[in-house]
Point group: C2
Chain length 343, copies 2
DNA sequence: CTGTTAGCGCTTTCAA
DNA sequence: TTGAAAGCGCTAACAG
């Protein structure tokens, strides 16, 4: 910057004023500065700028699994809201590991993002770290991360309600042997969708059969990772081989449901006549499956949008704000994989 | 930091040495420093650190469309390679707009990332900006972004070959009226997959019928945006209403192909007997479609991995390196949507 | 309208 | 093994 100042014959401060378009600078000086800036292909050092200004106009978003449409829609919504208020967005991926969770927090906060949105699953060491971040006065908002802190806003879809309604729907159709694919009963405490399933069964006095609840066991982390087509496929195979197989399946998410559908088709059974299947999320491809996939739609964009708004509110407020908690309703989407078409 | 130094009774430099684990510090002083660091919940300012060190140990990745499995697999591979060498990864999304492309470059470079991987589609102003970044000695690597610069490495799948083989496959099956969905002929220059299609037709002296090439016209940008299920669905509807409809379809990507499949099913025609369909990318769900989707698999992870390696090589080298160009082969994956099962 | 001063928080370099 | 000095590149605050 001082190079430019010298070349033009002004003080660095004047160059700064031109670049930031604030303060008064004469038309003449402005033009000369700008032309030298172009000539020298000058680009200002944002690090120094941020260090001085004590802000970066940037927010960070930590995602667990980027290959999940839920995460990506979230990211798009957050980005939109941030851009609208002139904030940049940096995204980090943690791949569902507590260690990488922390690495992501660390790298974002050490770059002094003005605030942080966290959309990874809760884990103890990560939660601990988040606390210390907040105590350093960096605003944090959590999406679907199930832990409580007085100064961290919380947004989530109502997975409990969604899981309940999905299961209720299957019960309404007359099913009594209903399987769950995507997690095991050990994960109950951390998985609202599974809780919703169990609640619905309980309400209708259907006995819970633990052989009907299947998924990958997370021995190492204790945290149920994201569930995939593969898990759905394998889980369904297992359930189909039971002496008294289920007649309906609630899958933890649509990918799992789709894997399960493939397993059912391979076995020669029909969907939904022999096995009804419902997923969760309503990914864009759900409607293109054959049969089209019944599912529970969660408001992905809305969650991202609200998170961004709450975060920016915290960033731009001086006072200590009270914790906000938003639990958004899910919507049951009934398609052919649970109800056969009447002609 | 000076707070800590004062509390412990040493110089800030000593604290710095403890935190960076370099230089000699007595066991005693180290322990006292670390305990005060914990006590005060101190977190060092990465901005100041980076400003002084002239590096951030961070690389940036700019993605066009995050909801595309191609992008996300890329991101995961890049992240893996970066993490392995102790670099952080910041991801920005540009949503396929030239303006936001530049905003992403700007925000990453102004935060002084040590290098940049760009995986968005080429556009003139963005290309211009990338040039100026390189001239500021920030290493840049491009993935699938079709523009040439002496100091920018280039990685891409061989879309030309892939498009050719997909079309060739349909021709081998006896098809002569083959449609393309996902772009219009105006985009030929920028879309290798479309070129591959045209080349294959030409080689077999099949006349090109422009009514068989359909997609959304990008009037505003001139850049063909990402093609979706919706475009596939609508494109297929259009092609099916032609007096002499195509008997086979090459879709620009799997999402487009899946949308097209839905349109075909709705019309009561059979896949592949009445209309054969092949896509591109081999997204994880392709194999779960009914019928399962034939496609062209591109090495997504490999592209990301190579890009990261080339970038880190540039970052860690002092000399001016020559441009590297890697074009990776695609693989034809034949499934039920083009070839009916023989029993 | 423009310039001067000071300092953001850290680390490199040199000295003890 | 530790410390002092200097400065990374920028801008807030004040002065003219």
């Amino acid at each position: 910057m001082s190079d430019i100042a010298t070349t033009v014959g002004v003080a660095p401060m004047t160059v700064s004023r031109v670049l930031n378009q604030n303060g008064y600078v004469s038309e003449d000086v402005r033009n000369r500065v700008l032309s030298v800036v172009k000539e020298l292909n000058y680009r200002r050092n944002g690090l120094a700028r941020s260090l001085k200004r004590q802000r970066t106009d940037t927010i960070g978003l930590v995602l667990g699994d980027i290959s999940n449409p839920y995460s990506t829609e979230l990211a798009r919504a957050v980005r939109e809201a941030a851009t609208a208020k002139n904030y940049n967005l940096f995204i980090c991926i943690s791949e569902h590991s507590a260690q990488e969770d922390i690495a992501a927090f660390e790298s974002l906060t050490s770059h002094s993002v003005d605030g942080l949105i966290v959309a990874t699953r809760a884990n103890d060491s990560g939660d601990e770290y988040l606390k210390s971040i907040v105590e350093n006065n960096v605003p944090v908002v959590a999406i679907g991360r199930d832990f409580y802190h007085e100064q961290i806003d919380y947004i989530s879809a109502d997975n409990l309600q969604g899981g309940f309604e999905a299961t209720q729907h299957l019960i309404d159709l007359g099913h009594r042997r209903i399987g769950f694919i995507g997690a095991t009963l050990e994960n109950e405490a951390k998985l609202k969708r599974l809780q919703g399933y169990l609640n619905a069964l309980e309400k209708h006095r259907i006995e819970i059969d633990e052989r009907l609840v299947t998924g990958r066991r997370e021995v190492r982390t204790g945290v149920p990772g994201y569930s995939t087509e593969k898990i759905g496929y394998e889980g369904m195979k297992r359930l189909l081989s039971l002496p008294n197989r289920p007649t309906a399946i609630f899958a933890r998410n649509d990918f799992t449901a789709i894997g399960a559908m493939t397993a059912v088709k391979e076995s020669g059974l029909r969907i939904p006549q022999d096995v009804a299947i419902i997923g969760f999320d309503d990914i864009p491809l759900a409607v293109h499956m054959s049969p089209s996939l019944s599912t529970v739609r969660q408001p992905m964009r809305l969650q991202g949008q609200i998170a961004a708004e709450l975060l920016l509110r915290r960033i731009e407020s001086d006072e200590d704000l009270l914790r906000e908690e938003k639990i958004l309703n899910c919507e049951l989407i009934i398609r052919e994989s649970t109800v056969s078409l009447k002609i």
